[in-house]
């Protein structure tokens, strides 16, 4: 059926389009443009082509911090994928079982931290893990593991993992809710048919539920990816703009902040910062593009 151009659609779209254009698209384009300029010491801006990118990728100092941030960001993302999403899936699977008592209560409890401000999460965990006032050492002592305790947030080897796990603790409710919604959307008769056929609960999960929620898992993955590569607030709250010790918790977001806004005596460089932001944008764009082109197409075959 062929339809003519509908003016009504335009009327409904325009306000959102305008807001999106002014507050999202234009600034994004302006950032891309700004990354091509450089500022001299008197604040004068001049066009410099790809010079900023050359500096970030080729200058030993800049490229070291850029790749360090990128690697840390990948680890940050990796821990979310390995810990947050499987736990989210597990919780969702348990909650969607038919005979769970207090399911709503658990759902709320697991989702609650997501609603907390990152500043509170950072502060509370810092207190819990504090070697001076924290309870972790005593709690470990109760099970005889006192010697395992270390100032995790202060050690190069463990700070990033600790921060990632804090973030996992806060956001595990998100994948849980999304997967839960997908699971309860699975038609009962499909499951019942399987039960009648004598399939074990494990087999039902593995061969019916899981394939049916794969698109949601893909969505969760890409949402986690975008959120992690945009992350900034938790690291900044707990470790400050220098993301110590020795930049071991520095991710692209904190690197961008230091460059764009400056930090302490580091003088801000909006043009250089815009270049870092553009690189972040490209990383996310690549990730999302990869997902849409290669992953999602295959997943849709399973959708009901």
């Amino acid at each position: 059926m062929k339809q003519g151009f509908s003016w009504r659609v335009l009327v409904f779209i325009t306000p959102a389009l305008l807001v999106y254009a002014v507050f999202s698209a234009l600034p994004l384009l302006d950032t891309l443009r700004l990354g091509l300029y450089s500022t001299d010491e008197n604040g004068l801006r001049s066009f410099s082509g790809l010079a900023n990118y050359a500096t970030i990728l080729h200058d030993p100092q800049w490229s070291a911090s850029f790749w360090n941030a990128m690697l840390n960001n990948l680890k940050f993302f990796g821990i979310h994928m390995l810990v947050q999403n499987p736990i989210g899936l597990l919780l969702a699977a348990l909650l969607s079982l038919r005979k769970v008592r207090f399911a709503t209560f658990y759902r709320t409890v697991f989702f609650l931290p997501t609603l907390l401000s990152v500043v509170i999460v950072g502060f509370v965990w810092q207190l819990i893990l504090s070697p001076l006032w924290g309870v972790s050492e005593r709690l470990l002592g109760w099970v005889g593991l006192e010697s395992w305790f270390a100032p995790w947030l202060g050690l190069e080897s463990s700070a990033l993992t600790t921060l990632s796990l804090m973030s996992v603790w806060q956001f595990v409710g998100m994948p849980m809710m999304l997967i839960y919604a997908a699971m309860i959307a699975i038609p009962e008769d499909v499951i019942e048919a399987a039960v009648v056929e004598g399939a074990s609960p494990w087999r039902i999960f593995y061969e019916i539920r899981l394939p049916l929620i794969l698109p949601t898992l893909g969505l969760v993955t890409i949402l986690t990816f975008v959120a992690n590569f945009n992350a900034f607030d938790l690291i900044y709250t707990v470790k400050g703009g220098l993301a110590g010790p020795n930049y071991s918790t520095d991710i692209l977001g904190t690197l961008f902040y230091r460059t764009f806004f400056g930090y302490q005596s580091q003088v801000a460089s909006p043009t250089m910062g815009a270049a870092v932001a553009t690189l972040m944008f490209l990383v996310i764009l690549l990730g999302v593009g990869f997902y849409f082109l290669l992953v999602q197409r295959r997943l849709q075959r399973f959708a009901l």
Binding site: D30, L129, P131, G154, L155
Partner: protein
């Protein structure tokens, strides 16, 4: 990101300009803690001699101040009076034309040349902020713990470590309240606090700027070596201890010595009952001349786009008066006026600290002038390597090498 900001900012500016009329001034500052002081003490005193001008003190929290101020200045919405960081951060604003030149303004005559350097162009020809106050670095000690253990205030580094050993052996209190989680203390308090005794204050600082000395020289490496020796006297898990934790530890009487600067006097007076005194950074050998870090920390300038420059000048001249010097020194305890007026300091700890100016030679924080300008930012690098040294993750000579290499990268005389 900029375009909508401009729009919003212009809209805001339009709205605000409706309220702004002659006689109104606003102050941009990072000293959030000083808000009651300004509102209850300083501004009422100013109104007495200057009726008709009203001033609003609108601070932004310290870590956000520089970036927020930059954004507001770019957008044209910043306040009339700008609280100035020392040296390069303000110089950068002045170079971009955001700060009014203060040359010839009468109040400047009340300050010695050395107090003005922090807010002048490199050639010293133009001044862009009125000096307000400096902070002095040193150590606080818990008088009760010292008395119980029969300890005397240390003078040399050897004394210092003997005292630390005794406190550690007694096992009742943490010898040193310091952590490396926030990183800045290891540079701004420890390295530039105890270092002047090693590099002979201004001699070492100017030597680095002229290129005659290097960070890899013994005077600088030995400072890091001394810092590394502090590690056994810090609390367990000090790598995750924040500045606030250290303050609490000392304030609760659970630590004997607290390396700090005079700005912390008012904090402990308001927030703890601990009875404390101050001693200056120990010298290397008995009889050595002593040096203190007497850091010009805070100044105030005029926004070049202010609509009310005449009143702003009146205000700055009042900042240069004896009345202000007296009020600020005695009410913002631990911030010492930079003017040449003779002020009697009432707080005993503050009095002790300011007396060091007469006994030792003053210097400013090592990297405050010129050295922070390039990329990599030396300040940030120093936070990082000094924390690594105190965490025993980096050897002092490697720390020195990294700083020197970063400096030589952009600063010709250091090559």
């Amino acid at each position: 990101m900029r375009t909508p900001f401009h729009l919003t900012a212009t809209a805001l500016a339009l709205v605000c300009s409706g309220f702004a009329h002659a006689g109104n001034l606003t102050i941009e500052s990072w000293r959030v803690d000083d808000k009651p002081l300004w509102e209850d003490v300083l501004l009422p005193a100013f109104y007495k001699s200057n009726p008709g001008i009203t001033v609003k003190f609108l601070p932004t929290s310290p870590p956000e101040y520089d970036s927020a101020l930059n954004t507001r200045l770019t957008a044209g919405t910043a306040g009339d009076l700008i609280t100035c960081r020392p040296f390069d951060v303000s110089l950068d604003l002045a170079k971009k034309g955001y700060l009014e030149k203060l040359n010839g303004i009468p109040g400047l005559k009340n300050f010695p040349e050395s107090a003005q350097v922090a807010w002048q162009s490199d050639d010293g020809k133009s001044t862009h902020c009125m000096p307000m106050a400096s902070v002095i670095h040193g150590f606080f000690y818990n008088k009760k713990i010292f008395a119980d253990l029969g300890l005397a205030v240390p003078v040399t580094e050897a004394d210092f470590f003997t005292v630390l050993d005794k406190i550690k052996a007694a096992g009742k209190a943490t010898p040193l309240a310091l952590g490396t989680a926030d990183q800045w203390e290891t540079n701004q308090i420890v390295f530039t606090g105890i270092g002047p005794n090693h590099w002979k204050g201004e001699e070492g600082r100017k030597g680095l700027i002229s290129g005659k000395q290097k960070f890899t020289d013994p005077a600088f490496v030995s400072t890091w070596e001394t810092m590394a020796k502090w590690a056994p006297y810090l609390s367990k898990g000090y790598q995750a201890q924040t500045y606030g934790d250290s303050q609490n530890l000392f304030g609760a009487g659970r630590a004997a010595i607290y390396p700090t600067g005079s700005w912390d006097i008012s904090y402990f007076e308001q927030n703890s009952k601990v009875d404390f005194g101050a001693f200056k950074p120990p010298v290397q050998k008995a009889g050595d001349a002593c040096y203190i870090s007497d850091h010009t920390d805070i100044g105030m300038g005029i926004n070049s786009k202010s609509k009310n420059k005449a009143d702003a000048q009146t205000f700055l001249n009042w900042l240069a008066s004896k009345e202000f010097a007296d009020l600020y020194t005695n009410k913002a305890t631990g911030f010492f006026s930079l003017s040449s007026h003779a002020i009697e300091v009432k707080n005993p700890v503050a009095k002790e600290m300011i007396s060091w100016r007469g006994q030792c030679k003053s210097t400013i924080r090592l990297n405050a002038q010129i050295m922070n300008r390039g990329t990599p930012s030396m300040e940030n690098e120093l936070w990082n390597v000094s924390s690594q040294v105190m965490n025993l993750k980096m050897a002092p000579k490697d720390a020195a090498q990294q700083i020197q290499a970063g400096f030589a990268k952009w600063y010709a005389p250091a090559k």
